[in-house]
Amino acid sequence: MSLKKGSFVIEGLENVQINIGKVGAQDEQIAEGPTPRPEIISLRSWDHRILDRYNPVYTPTSDMCDMCTYGKCDLTGNKEGACGIDLEGQSARQALMTSIQGAACHSAHGRHLLNYLIKKYGEDFKIDVGPSNLQAPITETVMGIQPRTIGDFIPVLDYVEEQLTQLMATTNTGQEGSSRDFESKALHAGMLDLLGMEVSDIIQISCLGFPKSDENAPMAEIGMGILDHTKPVVVCVGHNIAAPAYILDNMDANNLFDKIEIAGLCCTAHDMTRYNRSAKIVGPMTKELKYIRSGIPDVLVTDEQCVRADILKEAQKLHIPVIATSEKITYGLPDRSNDNVDDIIEDLVSGKQAGVLLLDFEKIGQLVPKLAMKMGPIRKAKGYTALPSEEELTKLVSKCTKCLQCTRDCPQSLPISDAMVAAVNGDLTKFEELHDKCIGCGRCDYSCPVDIPVLNVIEKASQRVIREEKGRIRIGRGQIGDPEIREEGRNLVLGTTPGVIAFVGCSNYPDGTKDVYDMVEEMIQRSYIIITSGCATMDIGMYKDKEGKSLYERYPGRFVKGNLLNTGSCVSNAHIAATTIKVASIFAGRKTKGNWEEIADYVMNRVGAVGIAWGAYSQKAFAIGTGCNRLGIPVVVGPHGTKYRRAFIGKPYKKENWNVLDGRDGSVVNVEPAPEHMMITAETKAEVLPLLAKLCFRPSDNSLGRAIKLTHYIELSEKYLKKMPDDWHIYVRNEADLPVAKKEQLMKLLEERGWKIDWEKKKITEGPLRKVDVSFQPTNVPRLCKEVKK
């Protein structure tokens, strides 16, 4: 007899009603670990292990608390406020709130997609992410279930939402007061974020025909210079594919791709190219204001996340109608979801309405192409643009008084007045350099005392480089497939592949987008596996080598050393974290279901993976990073990341912090600080490259792997910082750990440090912290030891 969903009454037992909900194969639904569906304190002991080693470091942006009517309270010097919370507690509470915001954003995105996709395809639609048995690694590890259909994700998001509500409750005045426990809760929120992202991407991959673990996914065009703006142009902004999918379907059905240009800004763009190969990518969020002010878009479609708050205001000035398609961003627009499409178009074309809220996807699909076909010719005839003419540009730059107020208000402190001076003399190259470094926020416009529209001036002066801004990226492939993990897992755990580096996050770079391209090029040439997602993916693809090839065209997309993989949009970050779970499961046979602590412990001690969000700006990026930290993956952010106000920094000088247990017998082993930090910032590209190499060290590295990692760490430090790292010797356990090419030279240096060397046998006889033991099973969790040594 097969069980089905529903209510049943058994004959003879009429007073008994049996309700059956979701049915799954029994073996798939039995948790294998101790923490299926962890509550907010279920993993507290694991969190405290992380926090004991990686101490939270607080760098407040404000010394005040103004969260309740007791305040404002001055907490300077870690004083307590009226409610009893001190600055450390308040900073930790802010870290929690930031994580919750990020997790809520991704999970609400997932909820919207899930409801929509279930309505369209039904709960029983099978999930399919490619050649994998472990299709939803994070879901399995957190929830203890193995989802098979999209309906299986309903209880997953129910769980996420319930937990986020519990967490949010703890941030109210008069609730949690311990910074340590706020951080444990922030780590919980980060884990929920990974879960929400995984649900979002798996269901869209499964239902919408996105590439499924496809290492050969096709290329997409990217850049501000790619669109043919003699045609009507539709630009979709945000992160949610639902509405743009209908527009793309309508255009497909009506053969409109040669008549209308359609592209995306921010992660919606990624998912549009995953959905339909005719879509293009303008760029990340930093291009939003720049592109709107160019006047090129004839219709703007907004959905959710990373959408500028002033889009309607900016669009209105240039007569670009805005179609808001998400309940989360409605801009005060009238809801026209129940109105006739032609009536709406008439109101928008006539300018009677600057935009509309439209929540009916079918209507969005019909309306947008039609509206673009009408608006395009009208707008182009009028020549709408916010950018000044050549003559106006000359006048504007000569107005600059060099007061530097724009530089002081600029998040990157760009030398704008220098560019103004050069432009007065006919030299626009300084503005062209600024265009790459400018994040397009527009704060300079507000700061100028003589009303120069600074951003428009930068963009007008940079038209030459903007026209040439044409890159290519491999579209988002989704997950890493099980076969790839089988092939590469061993190399990663032993260290012979030096590491996985995930370039993720937003575009708030300290010194322009080119840095992230340079970093990837450096590390991929050193055979690191480079995985990307979101806006970082886009920026990496903006540049080309001398032969005109982007990095995605130069390097293949398989999960093996020296490859470059684009997983996809912001929610595809889940697959990057999930890759480490797959390594633990597929390579090492660790049980996943409901077994977060054991998996995270394995990842922290054995999988040389590190994330870098060089331009992270959003709460979402912080939540992703915090989730990775709970999974044992270290994260580096750019210098702006100090404004997240909290980092997790290891103290290598405290030897007792670096004790681990040997899983074979529970004996305590003092190991090298690996990974040294869980979340940290760096000031420049030159500083971060050796740091990335260092954060790939793991206690489990074998000698060959350690020698490879050490080679890169030393070489990168010498290349970029002009020095041998001060701590390189800490990572040497025996002579076989030393890079072969420099072995003798390094042994001499070790001898100078007081180590004993047997030069005849070329062996280190005294000095290292510990010996290499190929059977060593490092763990931070006592219960995982086979026999606990007393």
């Binding site: 760098t59 001055d74 300077t76 940290i680 740091l691």
Partner: protein, 190 residues
């Protein structure tokens, strides 16, 4: 007017008056942390404090690449002040024969708050931190940790007003900044 007094007047005119207490408002306009913000000081103050400190630390960052600024870093280092070289600044100091150590700024801020930190050379913590040449917002955030979670005195001798320091110069033009550094150096024992 006698020749003597004319010479003195001329000499007085030639000595550029450096006032580093002007424009003492956060360089990044929005960087207002709270009621406690740095006291604006003249260069002699950090100079004398550096001279008197038992174990001072100079922190410099990625913005010391200009010839004038780098020369002052070297002079301060040659005067015996230990240097924490953050960001990628070590590449400018590698061949200068200074007591300079690479350190990540964020980690350094954390370690300075820890009384158990053995310092860059294993000889213990520091009683005075002076800094310049670090990306403005990065330095500002990092020293907010010291301001709120340590007892170490922190002085900015950068060209920007740093509200999270205990003392700071105001926002200075480049020539005034260089002259101010020279005045700081002038206070150090020869």
């Amino acid at each position: 007017m006698s020749t003597n007094s004319t010479d003195k007047a001329k000499e007085k005119q030639d000595v550029k008056v450096i006032d580093t207490t002007r424009q003492a408002v956060p360089y990044n306009t929005g960087n207002i942390p709270g009621p406690k913000m740095a006291r604006a000081v003249m260069p002699a103050v950090p100079g004398k404090m550096l001279a008197k400190a038992k174990r001072p630390l100079l922190i410099v960052g990625s913005e010391i690449d200009g010839v004038d600024v780098l020369a002052r870093v070297v002079t301060l280092g040659k005067a015996g002040i230990q240097i924490a070289s953050v960001g990628d600044s070590y590449k400018y100091l590698a061949d200068k024969g200074l007591d300079a150590h690479y350190m990540n700024m964020h980690a350094l801020a954390s370690y300075l708050c820890d009384p158990e930190w053995p310092g860059l050379d294993g000889k213990g913590g520091y009683d005075l931190v002076v800094f310049f040449g670090i990306t403005y917002y990065y330095a500002s955030q990092a020293i907010s940790a010291l301001k709120n979670f340590s007892n170490i005195k922190v002085i900015s001798i950068d060209k920007y007003y740093h509200p999270n320091a205990d003392m700071s110069f105001g926002n200075l033009k480049q020539d005034v900044f260089i002259a101010a550094l020279d005045e700081v150096i002038a206070q150090l024992p020869k």
